[in-house]
Symmetry: C2
Subunit: 175 residues, 2 copies
Amino acid sequence: MRKLLNEELNRKSVDEFRNASKTPIIIVLDNVRSLNNVGSVFRTSDAFLVEAVYLCGITGTPPNKDIQKTALGSTDSVCWKHFKTTIDAVGVLKQNNYKVYSVEQAQSSIMLNNFYPEKGQKLAIIFGNEVKGVDQEVINASDDVIEIPQVGTKHSINIAVSVGIVTWDLFQKML
Amino acid sequence: MRKLLNEELNRKSVDEFRNASKTPIIIVLDNVRSLNNVGSVFRTSDAFLVEAVYLCGITGTPPNKDIQKTALGSTDSVCWKHFKTTIDAVGVLKQNNYKVYSVEQAQSSIMLNNFYPEKGQKLAIIFGNEVKGVDQEVINASDDVIEIPQVGTKHSINIAVSVGIVTWDLFQKML
């Protein structure tokens, strides 16, 4: 099977991306420390035509050399905003009728494979700091918690990988 | 909803991991350059109890400081082998009755959302170099090609994120 050339992939231009009808998901980063992780989240958000990325608290913002290393230009296509606190972002999202989910390990969380978004429902998905995860106060302000089932020895998955897993999972459920 | 403490997650010890019945997936890295990506693949493989990671060609191997930065100890739990070439690894896998899939963008590839593994079938999934992707010769030696559908401006997704997406997708289809 012949590999496709880049020009055969029919990807969107930045203008086409900005004008396209989006996957109704906003990704919210709660105090993510690593700029490489932030850049990778932009690249994934571009691939699945995500509506926006909300960068909260200490999370770095473009333009930034270390974000660019992993974003590879996707900060030009994907919309983003910075919020002083993640709680501020949650407030704005709720006012705009987003259902707000934190991705965490918590009591009575919904396992990702059991989570099916309501048709037409706009979703905001919060991912947390590399060490502390999503802040408990932010979880309390969320509508619910989604958990990625894990069966190994470690306590969590890298945050950029988690964004890939959850965004793909929800994207394909909306296909 | 209260976040769970690490000790409440009931994760496996390294011994329990090694003795556990595994998800019948081997992840094959075809000349992956970044040691951070390799480490991240170990961490994801631990989370989903993957059988092994095959590191081929120039792909770095543990023990290595830069792999450890993102693997965070998961090189202790997940089995791995190094092969001089990816073609060597494919040969061994086929002899051992694995169905071998490359993850790429190719003519007549199977979209990930349309791919359902046969029950009981052992799978080997090949991921390629950060710039060149999976080598055409390796694709020719594979049984088929799986593609992650992408609808943005960029041509590909980060390799560690791709491993997360495909491994989660197959893991939950096997649940």
